[in-house]
């Protein structure tokens, strides 16, 4: 008698010591959250694996997940949980050879779908109390499957179906493994504030930050009438996509019109972007303090635009005391776009609402600003008042998937 489960693998090389139990606790919570609403599943933690038991709570213990749709749904959701390395829909059996044989035959039949197929068996005996070792078990099951399943032949090099068997406190038989996103479970690394513009890059940067276990709050700088309600909605929609991966995102919409006008009116146009970015970082740091966040995250990629030369980044960076994480720093535009498509933010990011703000982007921004000239230009501004004004105009909402 076998029970339908999904076997969840996690953990990366180098994750050890005291980190591990904390990681596991957070991951368990994240997986449970991702599977919320599926009342037939229960998650157990066992020996370096999570076991998602299907149909356990539905009052039909032991009844297999008929057509596998529940397992499929679970795997799809797990594919969005950071920290999950891979997942396999599996049959769990007792440590009884006949039960394992039956489960393996059923798995191969189902994977072959009634057509002739080549297969091999991969066995792993982690439980040394089991009488057959890994190789002996693989050989034994291979021979059994050739007898039990019509039309199948062995091909150890390029099999169409690989029947995997893991023998632990119970045995697990499966033929399919779905890749997870890897990384660390969201929350295991703390909180950070993402500067989210609505373009292609910053949502991807946020996603990569979440992938390394950061819980996100987003700061969006809104400049009505230069940006519209639609551009603001676009940012909320982007956060909704991010929330599908990493859980709820708190969005702070910062009223930035007055600050941009001050910069525009009082400072040399070619330094406008530099000064604006410095002001944004100051506001974001204050938001980070409110959020208990220990880092800022930006979508900067080295050399991509004028504000992203090393000189610019240096001058802009000076105003911040928190570390600024730039997960895209080494990526090319094409790589960022590919990630944005995979994450699901690309189609939103390319909506054209954002460009009204271009009025503040000078025709010839300084690509290599010097710190002294920027600080001199900034002296024309009442920076604390502008930051306070922007913070006073913050509207906050929590966006869930």
């Amino acid at each position: 008698m076998s029970r339908p489960v999904v076997l969840v693998r996690y953990g990366e090389i180098g994750l050890k010591g005291a980190n591990r139990p904390a990681f596991e606790r957070v991951l368990l919570k994240r997986v449970q959250r991702a599977l919320a609403g599926l009342d037939e599943v229960r998650v157990d933690r066992r020996h370096g694996r999570l076991i998602v038991r299907l149909a356990a709570a539905a009052g039909r213990p032991g009844e297999p997940d008929g057509d596998g749709t529940l397992a499929e749904e679970v795997c799809q959701r797990l594919a969005r949980v950071f920290g999950v390395v891979s997942a396999s829909p599996a049959a769990e059996t007792g440590l009884d050879l006949a039960e394992i044989e039956a489960a393996a035959a059923e798995a191969l039949r189902s994977a072959a779908g009634g057509r002739p197929a080549t297969f091999k068996v991969e066995a792993r005996r982690a439980n040394k109390g089991f009488p057959l070792d890994s190789q002996a078990l693989a050989r034994h099951l291979g021979a059994h499957l050739l007898r039990a399943v019509p039309g199948v032949t062995v091909d150890v090099h390029r099999p169409q179906v690989t029947v995997s068997v893991e023998v632990r406190e119970a045995a697990y038989v499966y033929t399919r493994t779905v890749a997870g996103p890897g990384g660390l479970p969201v929350g295991s690394s703390g909180r950070a504030v993402l500067l989210l513009s609505g373009g292609i890059d910053s949502p991807v940067a946020g996603w990569m930050a979440m992938k390394r276990g950061l819980e996100l709050a987003a700061a969006h700088f809104h400049s009505p009438p230069f940006t519209s309600e639609r551009s603001r909605q676009k940012v909320v929609d982007l956060c909704r996509v991010l929330a599908r991966w990493g859980g709820p995102v708190t969005v702070h919409v910062v009223g930035f019109t007055a600050a941009q006008r001050e910069i525009y009116d009082r400072c040399p146009p070619e330094l406008g972007v530099t000064l604006m970015r410095r002001l944004m970082l100051r506001v974001a740091e204050d938001l980070a303090a409110r959020e208990g966040a220990l880092a800022l995250v930006t979508g900067e990629s080295l050399g991509q635009v004028a504000s992203q030369t090393l000189e610019s980044i240096n001058v802009i960076n000076r105003v911040a005391s928190l570390p600024i994480l730039r997960p895209l720093i080494g990526l090319d535009k094409g790589e960022i776009v590919a990630l944005a498509r995979r994450i699901g933010t690309y189609d939103l990011s390319i909506l054209p609402y954002e460009d009204c703000c271009t009025i503040f982007v000078p025709r010839h921004p300084r690509t290599r600003p010097r710190l002294e000239e920027v600080e001199a230009a900034e002296a024309a501004l009442d920076v604390p008042a502008l930051v306070a004004g922007a913070l006073a105009a913050v509207e906050t909402e929590v966006v869930d998937a």
């Binding site: 009438p225 230069f226 006008r261 525009y264 054209p352 009204c356 009025i359 000078p362 025709r363």
Partner: protein
């Protein structure tokens, strides 16, 4: 928030209370299917019939010549594609203008993909086509001519009587005219309720209308199809609307359209005069408040050829989109170009066809009035424009 001043009536209008009552009553009480044999179905059918009569009256047409559609876009699609497909063996040339609504232009592109040849007539600085261009483009294999009545972006009124003369239509036309080709379609979505259009006197074969531009509900429009004109339907099914538009009738929408068109017809002459006065007050007020502003379309040079409800103004050096949001902050709703293009990147094809320079195209706003607007609305809008432009002035990209 300040009192809202809605001057985007060419995008859509607020439904009038009589319209809302007609729609709600059709939803709650006369909810039968007009094709059903029982009394409830009959009453729904009667509702549709009454609306059909009201729309026909507005055009001087027979009720049997009115086909209800899902709106102006479907009416234009049905007119263009339906006529071209029905006449494909008679010829392959279609004549239209460069300033038509996208629902005409995209339909023409579809026809071009299918092997039809479409001639797009140019317009002058004011947005007017030249009847001579039209005469020159006419060939024996021209099957369809589609000319809008009022341009939705700048309000220029095309010289339909002259087009009729070129096509040999209208009162002076020889007997038997109107049975031949080409068919003549007029997109009258923007003129309904503002300008008169008598299909018999003009000698037009197809006319597109929309309910929500005259305080009716969205999702309802009509195509006038002159008796004897054959179209190939776009939607096939249960044979409703004389087989030209299958699908259970949108009874609530049609009832609302009927109510709206009755009001618009009863009030048209008075409304047109009042609208023209409001339009002039608005245009003059804006030019006074912002001396650099420039009017677009016929209003700039031949006000007699300008629709009474549309004021298109260029504010060179400003971005129309930003100005719209700045006005919105002051409670005034206007539009850049047309509502349909306000969400796209492309610069207005109409303004470019008029030969405006890029700065004027980028800085153009459209204010569109309805009979529900007042002088106070106009004065508030003028004040808001003055303030917004002053606040944005100097904020040009440098």
């Amino acid at each position: 928030m300040v009192r809202a001043v809605y001057l985007d009536n060419s995008a859509t209008t607020r439904a009038r209370p009589e319209v809302v009552r007609a729609v709600v009553s059709a939803l709650e009480e006369t909810y039968g299917n007009p094709s059903s044999p029982h009394g409830l179905g009959f009453r729904a059918e009667r509702l549709v019939k009454e609306a059909r009569e009201a729309v026909a009256r507005a055009l001087g047409a027979e009720p049997g010549e009115v086909v209800f559609t899902s709106g102006g876009t479907e009416a234009n699609n049905l007119a263009l594609v339906g006529a071209a497909h029905a006449l494909r063996r008679r010829g392959r040339r279609v004549i239209t203008t460069r300033v038509e609504h996208p629902s005409v232009l995209r339909a023409c592109e579809r026809l071009e993909e299918e092997g039809f040849e479409v001639v797009y007539l140019p317009v002058d600085r004011l947005g007017l086509i030249s009847p001579a261009d039209m005469a020159a483009a006419l060939t024996p294999d021209t099957i369809l001519v589609s000319i809008q009545h009022v341009n939705n972006e700048v309000g220029t009124v095309q010289p339909l009587p002259e087009v009729a003369r070129v096509l040999g239509r209208g009162p002076g036309a020889p007997a038997g005219a109107g049975t031949g080709l080409p068919l003549w379609h007029v997109d009258a979505v923007q003129s309904l309720g503002k300008l008169s259009l008598d299909v018999r006197r003009l000698g037009v074969d197809l006319v597109s209308l929309s309910a929500h531009k005259i305080h009716g509900p969205k999702g309802c429009g009509a195509l006038y199809v002159r008796t004897g004109v054959k179209l190939r339907p776009l939607l096939v099914g249960g044979g409703q609307e004389g087989g030209l538009r299958a699908g259970t009738e949108n009874v609530p929408g049609i009832a609302g359209f009927g109510a709206a068109v009755r009001l618009a017809l009863a009030e048209r002459e008075e409304a047109a005069a009042r609208l023209a006065a409001l339009r002039d007050r608005l245009a003059e007020g804006i030019l006074r408040a912002v001396p650099q502003a420039r009017l677009n379309g016929a209003l700039a040079g031949r006000p007699s050829e300008a629709a009474p409800h549309i004021v298109s103004v260029a504010f060179p050096g400003l971005r129309g989109e930003v100005l719209v949001h700045a006005l919105e902050e002051r409670g005034v709703y206007a539009s850049t170009g047309a509502a349909c293009s306000a969400r796209r990147h492309a610069a207005s094809h109409v303004l470019r066809a008029l030969g405006l320079d890029p700065a004027a195209v980028e800085g153009t706003l459209r204010f569109s009035l309805s009979p529900l607007n007042t002088e106070e609305d106009v004065d508030a809008a003028v004040a808001a424009v003055g303030e917004a432009v002053a606040a944005l002035r100097g904020l040009v990209r440098r």
